[in-house]
Symmetry: C2
Subunit: 385 residues, 2 copies
């Protein structure tokens, strides 16, 4: 099956190919071998896996954070920057599955070249949503979500008029500590936080799912992707992660997208849009077997990071960038055993309180806010330990 | 808000205006007074209510099964046949909310005149689905479902390619006897059968919901509306009637439409399509308050009418017409106290076994099958009582 627009295979660039989403993206490519040409692969430090991927998918362009003579010498791909592969003439879809701020510049390059961007790196949109959506509009480039919640909303909006949306409802599993008494949360370990009940994901996002900071980021992400203000976006608890999210329309009708928790489905949707390609890779949902779906209200005492994220989203400007930066540092130190679980919220709260900056920040303002929030958070950790 | 196609108010004909769906249709018209011109109203025997409706909505055309001098003399509307009002040049949408076979001929007239038909009278499609869908296609007329399940599926398909559908999943509340031991079902009364746990509906459909015959009719209806074979249509039990139905796509993604059980929502959808008109008439769904949604497999021992309906659907020809006719007679006699609840299945089973007829019946063949099944059922009841 070829790209419906150009009549050829879909030219694919995967930024962050050795991470969890990157690897699952290549799983989808593997399951649909006639659909894609892998134009470029980019990774952080996992040289061994990147080399393996390069030998299998034979990209023309390759990039690694660690400039590796080893990779350069052993794969036939040409070394290239992420911006270059994102904007390459043969690229149709760029998967941004990098961590944190790394994905911002190549995502901008892709949008400015009119490419479709399949976005898994939500921090990019949280930090620079206004900028990215404006660039996408200006260059008729498409932002497609990979997050399961946003893919759900996106799918529910196909064939609907944007003005028809009354509310967006994001579901949250509640993470591994949804039943832990709030007063015991300061004692939980990184190992416990990494045991997500429903999803297999990277470490950073798994911890963010335990604090529900991730759900706050998703609200801000939804705000930009679907142009719906934050006060019309709700979060509800849904233990089973089967209903991936819902849209309520202005006539009172509600649509939801459901499926077994498997990221390959939203990835495939984002890669092959507007086509739904037949696939057996994703197990089929059987509600009869599942039996019961539960819904509830998140307890803000248990999830202070969710409140902080929503507040940062409402404040706008570079506050969401500060939120992301402070969280990234705090989670690193929590995983390394330097901080307690409840300290994550304290670091974020402090960094947000310390921030001052313009209401309509430029990219430079955002990068500056990111850097100073990181420094602030590192100082906090040092003082604490 | 005007008709998006013609730029004027939507010209509406309501066939069966004094029944449950007819009255709720006029509720929707009342809540959106600037959207509609009521061109015609037609009713069965409820002269008093029809006259009241005519005084309120001032239709140009009116019809009553009982030719009522009283109505003729007191309302300014001209007396007209249902076919005439369905095909009238000022008519845009015809709501077919009549009972049984009555709606067939005016529905055909509407489709042949290229009108949109909002169909609540599922028997019409069950009996003559092939004929009606062929006529709709030939005259570029649109069949829009009013049944909540089919409206759900229809809404889930907006913006999707028909080839993408893998399965359709219809939800069933299970009716008032979902927890009654099957061996006690022969003793249940009409009064008990009319106490539906979730929906306020007419008497006939409420009994059909207790036997799940209704769900079998809905499978056949879905088969024609969405051009999906019966073996790709599933029925699942869902006690709460919040998820109105689901579509599974060929990539493994599932979409569902949800809402509080209120027929005004699917009615409004069918009347105002492709627009979603803002409305506060329908209460908003709050899953946090509902808490739990349950799903399960229907027990065919409890619901023999569902098996019979699916068998009639698979057999095709005029079998579905025989199914509808035998059921209509059986339910009448059950409501009148002449038959037990479990006799309904016996009447249907016997009528289906007695039927022989062509595989591709004409309208006359269907009407003949209908008449002989009614006679067969009446004879069975007479012999029994």
């Amino acid at each position: 099956m070829d790209n419906p627009v150009t009549g050829r295979r879909i030219g694919l660039v995967v930024l962050g190919s050795t991470g969890s989403i990157g690897r699952q993206t290549l799983d989808v490519v593997r399951s649909l071998p006639k659909h894609f040409n892998v134009i470029g692969l980019a990774a952080g430090g996992n040289v061994t896996l990147l080399e393996e991927q390069a030998r299998e998918f034979r990209p023309r362009l390759i990039y690694c954070d660690r400039d590796s003579e080893y990779v350069r010498g052993r794969v036939s791909a040409r070394w290239a920057g992420m911006e270059e592969m994102a904007a390459h003439p043969d690229t149709d879809v760029v998967v941004t599955a990098t961590l944190g701020i790394t994905g911002l510049s190549p995502t901008l390059a892709a949008l400015r070249a009119g490419k479709a961007v399949a976005l898994a790196n939500k921090e990019v949109l949280v930090m620079a949503g206004q900028l990215l959506t404006a660039e996408a509009k200006r260059h008729s480039a498409q932002l497609r979500p990979i997050d399961s919640e946003h893919s759900a909303i996106w799918q529910c909006l196909w064939g609907e008029h944007p003005d028809s949306v009354e509310r967006i409802v994001l579901t949250a599993s509640g993470g591994p500590f949804r039943d832990t008494p709030p007063e015991e949360l300061h004692r939980v370990t990184a190992e416990q936080a990494l045991r997500h009940p429903n999803w297999q994901m990277g470490q950073k996002i798994t911890v963010d799912s335990a604090t529900l900071l991730n759900k706050g980021l998703e609200c801000i992400e939804a705000r930009w992707l679907f142009d719906v203000p934050l006060d019309r976006i709700d979060v509800i608890l849904h233990r089973e992660s089967i209903v991936h999210s819902l849209v309520m329309f202005r006539d009172g009708s509600v649509k939801a997208q459901l499926g077994v928790p498997d990221m390959r489905l939203p990835i495939q949707c984002a890669l092959t849009y507007p086509e739904r390609v037949p696939g057996t890779a994703v197990p089929r949902l059987d509600l009869r077997r599942i039996g019961t779906l539960n819904f509830g209200t998140p307890d803000m005492r248990r999830y202070p990071c969710l409140s902080l994220a929503l507040e940062a989203g409402r404040n706008g400007g570079a506050f969401p960038a500060v939120l992301c930066a402070a969280d990234e540092i705090a989670v690193q130190h929590f995983l390394a055993g330097h901080l307690g679980f409840t300290d994550i919220a304290h670091v974020i709260e402090g960094a947000l309180a310390a921030h001052t900056g313009p209401a309509n920040p430029s990219l430079d303002d955002i990068l500056a806010a990111d850097a100073s929030a990181r420094a602030w958070a590192e100082d906090w950790v040092k003082a604490k330990t």
